[in-house]
């Protein structure tokens, strides 16, 4: 062992470990349940999109739901059987709400789908990291430490990484699944670590393990057989397994909230995640099972490699649950939650299920007033002043809570653990955070509504103006020596006609005055001006949106998980902006006639924005065409009264222009329904984002 210095983070606590109960026995294969309940949302991002239908037969390992977007991961059938339902079922979530699940009745044959190994090394040698990341996404690889952040996003390094940290700290009491994994599958794990190292081009690799797992340390030492990976033993102190805490312990780097650790040259992976990366890349095995610790009030505590979707009641029965269990904790006792029911299926996040007996989990006692003793501040690994956050949250002074860095709280629970007044502090922070998110969401909705309203006003004004212009043009045309009967489409009554003509004449004069070098240029100038206005408005809207998005990302809590989601969003927004600019440039470069047909919106652009831009550009082009035709008519009216006979061709052009106008209107109407659809999608996205954040808090635990 080297003399690598171990740094310190503030605070931390030593809750009773209770690891011995489950760490002594080898991992056993879990039961093959009659029915599997697979939540579609298996990562902190978007829920996967089902690819199978009810009644369909599926094989073990078959892709049954695809990743939806970049922050998402695929889902596979854990065993062979028949899809019996795709519907809302109880999932392992504290809310107890139903969520979309695929239910598979197993046929007991556990029949694998034909698998072909993905030649990731070839892809790597070809510099095609994207293909490897997409493959991992499609294999459903997510962070198994509890945060279920899609792993492929963490592999998207731009430059060489300084330090790759493999998190084997497993600091939460009761949980031993990583411990057993390290002990029993060290060779595979080390192979996986070397793959991840290669993918990230990391300079050094450190495995952080708490000193209460000497067997795991020994197993890894034996498996490494080389100097490229260093096992670093850190003192047992909860929450040393939090990504930020472990990074601090090993590198002395503090990753601030809202910053991605990769930007500081560090990336952190949980051991179980690395193991699944190895299985996926070398054995073409999607993530269809995980090791879960079953412990507490059970006859046979231990670790089980269980199929994802296994009903938790089956797992508890498998472990021999005894009578007297008060509740079941999903995850560890410091950061987990009480299950609303055991019908839920095991999710990829489920590292532990504890049946609690009152003896081990005595009542906390009455919540007493805070006496500001400061114990919580001494215990806080984020170096917050929890008693102040509690005070502000309680009195709903959310602004001040935010000022005091409420969102730096990783909800590790150390403060509530030490509180002599038995205050469930974390509950207050969760409450304050959700209130702030709700307020932000409603502000965003209000902004959206205002934006829409402003755009509507703008459009109505524009339409009114254009209508007036059109009318005036028609009348101007009609006022010409009345040779062209059709130009007199002017069924309009004579009174308004006179007024409009006057207006049109005035406008024409103005135009003439403005364009010193000629009518054509004047018109062009006006045209450009209008186009610029529209572009500016659109840009403003887009910028606002991008800003809101970045804000939302920036204020999201804890985890790198969200940091990366944010970075992703910003990247997307910037990309979209660049594309918009390109589109605008292209439109300007085009001849007016072509502009109408140009479809510049790149596929990658988000649909709503693209649609808006298309609509605006089409409208602009058509207006231009329309004005052109007008202009063609106007100079004749003005400058050449002698050659007054408006030739039929021109009249035809006017008619054509008007028709185009109508078409445009129809398109606009259609467009607004599209916008509505886009808005619905955005609302959904917001809900998803909130979930992401809720899940993100778990990132800190491994």
């Amino acid at each position: 062992m080297s003399a690598r210095p171990i740094y310190k983070f503030n605070g931390g606590v030593h809750p009773p470990e209770h690891k011995r109960e489950s760490s002594g026995t080898p991992i056993v294969a879990g039961p093959l349940p009659a029915q599997l309940v697979l939540p579609l949302r298996q990562s902190i991002g978007n829920a996967a999109k089902p690819l199978v239908a009810v009644g369909e037969r599926v094989l073990k390992g078959q892709l049954i739901a695809a990743a939806d977007g970049s922050v998402s991961a695929a889902l596979h059938a854990p065993t062979s059987g028949t899809v019996t339902a795709i519907e809302g079922r109880l999932v392992a979530h504290p809310s107890g709400l139903a969520e979309a699940c695929i239910v598979i009745a197993s046929d007991g044959r556990d029949e694998w789908e034909a698998r072909t190994r993905f030649d990731w090394r070839a892809a790597y040698d070809a510099g095609n990291g994207r293909a490897i990341r997409d493959y991992l996404r499609d294999m459903g690889v997510v962070g198994l430490g509890g945060a279920v952040f899609p792993s492929h996003l963490k592999l998207a390094g731009r430059d060489a990484l300084d330090t790759l940290i493999i998190n084997g700290a497993e600091c939460e009491p009761y949980i031993t699944c990583d411990d057993r994994l390290m002990r029993e599958r060290a060779a595979d794990l080390v192979a996986g670590i070397r793959i991840v190292r290669q993918l990230l081009n990391a300079r050094e690799v450190l495995i952080g393990i708490e000193d209460n797992k000497p067997e795991a340390v020994a197993a890894l030492h034996a498996a490494i057989d080389g100097a490229d990976i260093e096992v670093v033993v850190v003192p047992t102190l909860y929450p040393s397994g939090g990504a930020k805490q472990l990074i601090k312990l090993l590198t002395n780097i503090e990753v601030p909230s809202g910053v991605r650790s990769t930007d500081l040259g560090v990336q952190c992976f949980n051991v179980a995640t690395v193991y699944t990366i190895y299985r996926a890349l070398e054995h073409a095995e999607p993530v269809i099972s995980r090791i879960v610790t079953l412990t507490g009030n059970v006859a046979r505590p231990g670790n089980v490699e269980a199929l994802i979707g296994t009903p938790l009641s089956d797992l508890m029965a498998f472990a021999g649950e005894q009578t007297g269990t008060r509740e079941h904790i999903y995850g560890g006792p410091m950061m987990g939650f009480a299950l609303p029911g055991l019908n839920a299926g095991l999710s990829k996040a489920g590292n532990c299920v504890i049946a609690t007996a009152p003896a081990d989990f005595p009542d906390k006692g009455r919540e007493m007033p805070c006496i500001r003793c400061g114990e919580c501040a001494s215990a806080c690994p984020a170096e917050l002043q929890p008693m102040d956050l509690y005070w502000f949250s309680r009195s709903r002074e959310f602004g001040r809570a935010q000022e005091r860095n409420l969102f730096d709280c990783i909800e590790c629970g150390a403060c509530a653990y030490v509180c002599p007044s038995s205050i469930q502090l974390v509950d207050y922070y969760r409450f304050a955070k959700s209130e702030i998110w709700a307020a932000e969401a409603s502000k965003k909705a209000a902004d959206k509504a205002r934006e829409r309203h402003e755009f509507k006003q703008f459009r109505e004004e524009r339409e009114k103006r254009e209508k007036a212009e059109r009318l005036a043009a028609r009348q101007a045309a009609a006022a010409k020596p009345a040779t062209t009967a059709d130009a007199a489409a002017a069924a309009d009554d004579a009174e308004t006609k006179a007024a409009k003509i006057k207006a049109a004449m005035a406008r024409a004069a103005e135009r003439k005055a403005a364009g010193e070098t000629g009518d054509t240029q004047a018109t062009d100038a006006m045209d450009a001006e209008k186009r610029a206005k529209i572009a500016a408005a659109m840009e403003k809207a887009a910028a606002r949106k991008a800003h809101l998005e970045s804000l939302q990302g920036g204020e999201a809590p804890v985890a790198e998980a969200v940091d990366e989601a944010k970075a992703e969003k910003i990247r997307a927004a910037m990309e979209a902006a660049a594309q918009r600019k390109a589109a605008r440039d292209a439109a300007k470069a085009d001849t007016p006639a072509q502009a109408g047909e140009t479809d510049v919106a790149p596929a990658a652009m988000d649909d709503a924005k693209a649609a808006k831009i298309r609509a605006a550009m089409e409208a602009a082009a058509q207006r231009k065409a329309h004005r052109e035709s007008l202009q063609a008519a106007a100079p004749v009216a003005e400058a050449a009264p002698a050659a007054s006979a408006l030739d039929p061709e021109k009249a035809e052009r006017i008619r054509a222009a008007m028709q185009k106008r109508d078409e445009e209107k129809a398109r606009l109407a259609a467009m607004s329904s599209e916008e509505r659809a886009a808005l619905d999608a955005e609302r959904q996205a917001r809900i998803d984002a909130a979930r992401v954040r809720a899940a993100a808090k778990k990132e800190s635990e491994q």
Partner: protein, 342 residues
Amino acid sequence: MITSPFLTKPTPLQVVMTKVLLALLPGIAVYVYVFGAGILIQLLLATLTALGVEAACLKLRNFPIKPFITDGSAIVTAWLLALSLPPLAPWWMIVLATAIAIGLAKHLYGGLGQNTFNPAMVGFAVLMVSFPAQMSRWAAPQAELDALAQLTYIFTGHLAVPFDAIASATPLDTVKTTILQHGGIGELFAAPLFQAGQFGAGWLPGMMGWIALAYLAGGVYLFASKIIPWQTPLSFLVSLAALAGALHLVDPARFTSPLFHLFSGAAMLGAFFIITDPVSGPTTPRGRLIYGALIGVLVYVIRVFGGYPDGVAFAVLIMNLAAPFIDQYTQPKVFGRKGKAA
């Protein structure tokens, strides 16, 4: 219980308060040795009053009585008060002071955890301002008074000998008066009052210095059991000693030594048991340093230049007012935000 954490460290409030009371025991024992059993009567009176008033206030406020009356905080307040008063003060003084501390300073402000001021010091200050004469009537250390005589005197004011025969000003009081009258300390420290009794220890300012030493021991115990932080007591004692030392160097005939200041009056009791009251003090580490240091300055200023012989109570009350302000400007940098950009 649905939310994490599901575990809790078994150090409830009662344990904290019990440890504070335990830490006071050495001081009380020496106190009894120096002044006799009278202090026990005062402690008992204070405890009973505190519990009675606490129960009444909880009842009036519709709070559950049992969890709050057993948290021990009222007893801590009561004991601190009793230890601050002259041991032979008439019974109604401690009763009045305790009632004010619990009823007014604690419950009118919202009860446990809500009080702006240290309740015991409010009770003390009320007595100090309202009954200055009684507050300065200390018996001489090891006066020949048995427990029964002390009991009788506390409750009836009746004494076989005139009180003046056994009375003695405290060292702080004596120093103040002497300097006022003679412009210097002179040979004052040769007087029996300033001798530390049969156990020697010449640097201790009289028998009362032994009590202070016992408080110091209790304070170390509290620190070792992580009940109190180190910042407040240390910065207080250091600033008091530094100021006293500086002026003592300038003019030893006028300004007593740092040790005299550290071991007389309520300095030690204050350092570990009074200014460490978390509710009325700041919570940030730097804030605690500033708070303690400023109390030290105020105590010295009041003792040496003010009208009262001791200044702990008023210094604490003044700084209680400043605590939220100190907290506001001493917020520590959080994890990951310690760089320049933070």
